[in-house]
């Protein structure tokens, strides 16, 4: 069974602070995605990483894929209330295979 463990499960911070969310597994993934999910909606893709050690930046968000392609991190700089939401990592072992999701990190950014 491929498990993706996300930490922390809940995170509440003040506007302007930085934060990092981690996604760890004992399995190797061919790609890993980060999604954001709003209540009552489906997950929306933020980024996909494919190459071990890869770093991608999306404005204030920085995503890193571990060298061994077993883990990933999401770092948010100067968090804003609009960043509030559920962040999900998901990995797949083949190009078209199922994606295994982590439990998610619920982020609350207080103004």
């Amino acid at each position: 069974t491929q498990l993706l463990e996300q930490s922390p499960q809940f995170l509440s911070i003040q506007e302007g602070e930085n934060l990092t969310v981690y996604c760890n597994s004992s399995s190797v993934f061919s790609s890993l995605q980060w999604y954001r999910q709003e209540p009552g909606e489906g997950p929306v893709l933020l980024v996909t990483v494919v190459t071990g050690g890869e770093v991608k930046k999306l404005k204030r968000l920085t995503f890193q894929f571990g060298d061994a392609r077993k883990d990933s991190s999401l770092h948010i700089t100067a968090a804003q209330p609009g960043d509030t939401g559920l962040y999900l990592c998901a990995g797949s072992r083949t190009n078209a295979g199922k994606s295994t999701f982590g439990d998610g990190t619920t982020l609350t950014v207080k103004p």
């Binding site: 790609s31 995605q33 893709l45 078209a96 199922k98």
Partner: protein, 115 residues
């Protein structure tokens, strides 16, 4: 921007009834998926579908579940005899494999409530 559309957005049914959830994937996508998310729990894989057949399914996807692509646009999930524990959000997703990555586009979901 192309999107995956799902209907109904919310369905309430009695235990034992049949339910069909409908999805229209993105038109040029080739791979289709159903996931479910029980309230407060993680998103779980149910089934993947490619070239008009199931390519992979999870333990959750038992004989009570079936999928079909009846025409060139719709992708349906049928639950033959619903149980209380089938209450969940059901998400359809589609993908076009690019750059070696499985990038899914999800619909907004169908909330199923079994009474």
């Amino acid at each position: 921007e192309p999107e995956v559309t799902q209907t109904p957005s919310h369905q309430v049914t009695q235990m034992g009834q049949e339910v069909i959830l409908r999805c229209v994937p993105i038109s040029n996508h080739l791979y289709f998926y159903w996931y479910r998310q029980i309230l407060g729990q993680k998103v779980e894989f149910l089934v993947s579908f490619y070239n008009n057949e199931i390519s992979e399914k999870s333990e959750i996807f038992d004989d009570q579940f079936s999928v079909e692509r009846p025409d060139g646009s719709n992708f349906t999930l049928k639950i033959r005899s619903t149980k209380l524990e089938d209450s969940a959000m059901y998400f359809c997703a589609s993908s076009l494999i690019t750059s070696g990555a499985n990038v899914l586009t999800f619909g907004a979901g169908s909330r199923l409530t079994v009474l």
